[in-house]
């Protein structure tokens, strides 16, 4: 795969505050990369540095197809960007919002019109072209903003929490739509999000960040199955942290097996609470084996509803839990 963007040693300080501390990763052509992390981790600052809207510290480098673009202003970087607020111009119609950037490109009127219509059809919004942003729904505004960014045929696309201002249902629909569009156009995309589910469902590659530093890079499967640090394990999905002989092991609730019989690897536990979650139950187990310490006190385990019924599990039931070796992640 061909590499498009290199983020090298990117560092940014605001006075004494370190917002980014030597971040390194690369983005391949046509790849969808998510910058994921809690608020204040530096992911948005990183996006703004890639866009050229913030100036990073000396030593940082951003390479686009091998060329150093760090000293270039945003206007010379050829990217499209969609902000959380969409930043649609309220006094221009959807059509003119999309045409706005094209007008500066010395194109004929006809060529502009063609490009605008093309962009509108990409997001399936030809029918609202004459409406003002205030007359569009949140999801429609978002798609117009996307169309505006794409109309200029940028080399890469930056999305700054593009879905977080929308309500849950529209958000799920747009996730699929954005990803489809990205695949269809084959446009390299970097998206900032704090929503781990969004990152897992949309990204080819996730860059997990915390406290100005990069924690882990990998495919959604890699970061979920093999979180490199306790932070990643905890931030993505739910995880149990257990202390055993001085080391910490992490295991996800759905990976723990529940049996009514004892095996050589199983631990004896007692059910302290259970939550019905529709397709499954989440059990909270007290470990009766002294060699394990659970950091939250209780071990969370997800069990299919059918098994709960079959084993007749209720509060105070005593169960055997097995922690499969291949799902255990151990930290020093």
């Amino acid at each position: 795969m061909e590499e498009l963007l290199y983020i090298q040693n990117v560092t940014k300080t605001f006075g004494k505050f370190v917002a980014l501390d030597h971040v390194n990763f690369s983005v391949n052509k046509k790849e969808f990369v998510c910058l994921l992390g809690p608020s204040g981790c530096g992911k948005t600052t990183l996006l703004r540095i890639i866009a050229g809207l913030e100036e990073p510290n000396v030593g940082s480098k951003i390479l686009l197809e091998g060329k150093d673009i760090t000293p270039l202003p945003p206007s010379k970087r050829n990217f499209g960007i969609v902000f959380q607020s969409y930043a649609l111009f309220p006094n221009l119609t959807a059509y003119h919002n999309i045409a706005y950037g094209l007008k500066n490109k010395k194109l004929s009127k006809k060529a502009i019109d063609e490009k605008v219509r093309e962009a509108l059809s990409l997001v399936h919004l030809e029918h609202v072209k004459d409406r003002y942003p205030a007359q569009l729904s949140g999801g429609q505004q978002q798609r117009i903003a996307l169309a505006r960014a794409l109309a200029l045929s940028p080399t890469f696309l930056l999305l700054d929490e593009p879905l977080s201002a929308l309500d849950a249902k529209v958000r799920l629909k747009l996730r699929i739509e954005i990803r489809k569009l990205q695949e269809k156009l084959g446009i390299t995309t970097i998206m900032v999000t704090h929503d781990q589910e969004e990152a897992l469902t949309m990204a080819d590659k996730i860059v997990v960040m915390n406290n100005a530093k990069m924690e882990q890079i990998g495919t959604p499967q890699e970061v979920y199955e093999h979180p490199k640090t306790p932070f990643v394990a905890d931030f993505i999905g739910t995880v149990n942290m257990l202390g055993q002989e001085g080391s910490t092991i992490a295991i996800r609730p759905e990976h723990i097996h529940i049996m009514d019989t004892q095996t050589k690897n199983s631990i004896k536990t007692k059910v302290k609470a259970l939550e019905f979650r529709g397709a499954f139950y989440r059990l909270f187990l007290e470990i009766m084996d002294q060699s394990y310490q659970v950091s939250d006190g209780l071990l969370a385990v997800d069990v299919p509803a059918s098994i709960v019924k079959k084993l007749d599990i209720d509060k105070e039931s005593v169960l055997n839990a097995e922690l499969p070796q291949n799902h255990l992640v151990t930290y020093a």
């Binding site: 040693n9 370190v18 940082s60 111009f89 200029l152």
Partner: protein, 602 residues
């Protein structure tokens, strides 16, 4: 061999632990250069318009009568001169009293409009704003016609009551002096205090009252535990505004002050009467101090205020209460009648032949013949100055606010510019006028300590309309900058980054999006500048020449010469002009404002 430009695999990049605090400078294109130059130009303009004249004023205060630097001798002399110190106490007394009375009156007036179901709310609101359209001298002149020696009320309507009731029923309030000044200042500051308190009262969260109700609090208790605390910043802010306005006002004390001296009239007397410029500037600096203190105190209060009102807040529900409504209706009616009677007195004074001896009607006073003015010329001068101030000022102020608010370059320059832009809020008009004389009238500047002389490139402005316009723009700069900044803050802060990403130069987005979106605020700034330029006296009193006399100045000259009736007539013309301009503006811009409002819905 790896050169710097060689692309490294991320895993191969050597980990550096040290952080270089320097930032990578972006290369700048044409549009960015232009943008940055404009920011620099703004700072330069603010330095020339504010900082340099102020420095001249300070230097002047350090000189003796012969122009030799003598340090703080003037200040020492000031505090040794009993009459001058007395007028400082006088000014403090007047301003504190004005602040208290104005805030109390305005509070109940605003309360009546926001929290009761009285009739004629619209009318009461317009009447409350009426004094804004008049020069402060007008309040004084109107009071003379009502409460002066030959005033309508003092003489019991010129003996009319005596004929009917057998007694004159005249009331003499001893207008000339502190009484007259305080009444004038209260009228002058009432609209401002009312406006602040109206906003403060209307954003109170009703859930607090509901909570108090469930806890069984009585009416008095609710008033003191919910109403007052939730508007306390508004109350303090309104007091500061009223205090500063009356502390620095020149018009009212000039007209009704008689022998009662205040700082503003002292400056005028020192500079114009005794030609003692050093002492004049010393008093000017003393005039800045309380304004500066109030200014910083107000800023600090505002910072604390922020989060008492949230989007979840519930608006106030007015409970039915006929007795309360009756009481407040009478209260508002009395205040409105008070304000209207001033206008009435002015109208009467401008139209009767010789008050109080010959009440036959005449238009003679409106021609301004044979009086200390120069006919109608000052009025047309005022129109010209106000018009140009409105146009130029709006452009400069709005663009200045835009450069400060909507740019990512030159943060420190912009912060400095913002500070300088807000500074005139603490500068009384008299001080600006005085500083401008010193700065613009000086043929050569001497740079201290290095003995370099620079010819003043701005000296040609002295004595022109332009210097008056410039002084007006600076005088009203801060208030309008805040209006512009508030409007700009409402716009999405990502408009500029998005435009940059699309390679659109900033000025295009400024013209295509920012200006159309902010049009209501821009027009509001224009009208504010016009109305205030028509009425202002303080900054321009030092700057006019025989050729550039303004209407407000001619009022002062005419009252000085005893031509009170033409002075009243001139005040009336100013008020009518301002009302007319406002009404025309409201009708002409209705469409624009409606459209802009539709865009702003989200």
């Amino acid at each position: 061999m790896l050169t710097e430009e060689t692309v490294l695999k991320p895993s191969e990049v050597t980990v550096q632990n040290t952080i270089d605090k320097r930032k990578i400078r972006q290369k700048t294109g044409k549009a960015e250069w232009f943008h940055k130059s404009l920011i620099l130009l703004m700072l330069l303009g603010l330095i020339i318009g504010i900082v340099l004249p102020l420095i001249q004023l300070f230097l002047e205060a350090l000189k003796d009568k012969n122009g030799e630097y003598v340090g703080f001798v003037n200040f020492v002399n000031y505090f040794k001169t009993e009459s001058l110190v007395q007028s400082m106490y006088n000014t403090l007394y007047i301003s504190i009293l004005t602040g208290v009375i104005s805030v109390v009156l305005a509070f109940f007036y605003a309360y009546a409009l926001a929290r009761t179901q009285i009739r004629w709310k619209g009318l009461f609101k317009y009447v409350a704003f009426l004094p804004l359209f008049a020069p402060t001298m007008m309040h004084g002149i109107a009071l003379i016609y009502l409460f002066g020696n030959k005033g309508a009320i003092t003489t019991g309507f010129f003996g009319l009551f005596e004929k009917i009731f057998g007694s004159t029923m005249g009331i003499d309030i001893h207008l000339y002096g502190p009484v007259g000044i305080v009444i004038s200042e209260v009228i002058y500051t009432f609209p401002q205090a009312f406006l602040i308190l109206m906003v403060a009262i209307s954003v109170t969260d009703y859930r607090l009252y509901e909570a108090a109700e469930t806890l069984g609090s009585g009416k008095m208790k609710k008033f003191f535990t919910v109403t007052i605390p939730s508007i306390k910043y508004g109350l303090v802010s309104a007091f500061f505004v009223a205090f500063i306005l009356s502390f620095t006002d020149f018009g009212a004390p000039k007209v009704v002050g008689a022998q009662y001296n205040v700082l503003a009239t002292d400056i005028y007397k020192q500079v114009v009467g005794q030609q003692n410029l050093s002492m004049g500037s010393t008093v000017g600096i003393i005039l800045i101090i309380p304004a500066l203190v109030a200014f910083f105190a107000d800023r600090m209060m505002q910072r604390k205020q922020s989060t008492s009102f949230s989007s979840k807040s519930v608006s106030y529900k007015i409970v039915k209460n006929p007795w309360r409504d009756k009481a407040y209706f009478v209260y508002c009616l009395l205040i409105s009648l008070g304000v209207l009677s001033l206008i009435g007195a002015i109208i009467a004074a401008s139209l009767v032949k010789v008050w109080p001896y010959n009440f036959s009607l005449t238009l003679e006073h409106l021609t301004f013949k044979n009086v200390a003015g120069n006919g109608l010329e000052p009025y047309f001068n005022s129109l010209y100055v106000s018009f140009i101030t409105a146009i130029l000022g709006t452009i400069i102020i709005f663009f200045g606010a835009y450069l400060i608010e909507k740019t990512r370059f030159m943060k420190i320059t912009r912060q400095l510019s913002y500070f300088l832009s807000i500074l005139p809020l603490a500068l009384p008009g008299l001080v600006i006028g005085l500083a401008y004389i010193f700065f613009f009238n000086k043929p050569v500047f001497e740079v201290p300590f290095i003995g370099v002389y620079i010819t003043n490139p701005f000296q040609s402005l002295y004595g022109t309309f332009m210097i008056i316009i410039l002084a007006n723009i600076i005088h009203f700069y801060s208030v309008n900058l805040i209006t512009a900044t508030t409007a700009l803050k409402k716009l999405d802060k990502e408009f500029e980054p998005v435009s940059e990403s699309m390679n659109i130069p900033f000025y295009k987005t400024f013209c295509n999006v920012t200006v159309p979106m902010s049009l209501p605020a821009i027009l509001e700034i224009g009208i504010y500048l016009f109305v205030n330029s028509m009425t202002t006296i303080s900054a321009v009193i030092f700057l006019y020449t025989a050729d550039t006399k303004l209407a407000s100045i001619s009022i002062v000259n005419m009252t000085d010469a005893g031509d009170t009736a033409p002075a009243a007539a001139m005040s009336l013309i100013i008020v009518l002009t301002n009302i007319l301009v406002r009404v025309v503006y409201e009708f002409a811009t209705k469409k624009i404002r409606n459209r802009a409002q539709a865009w702003q819905q989200r």
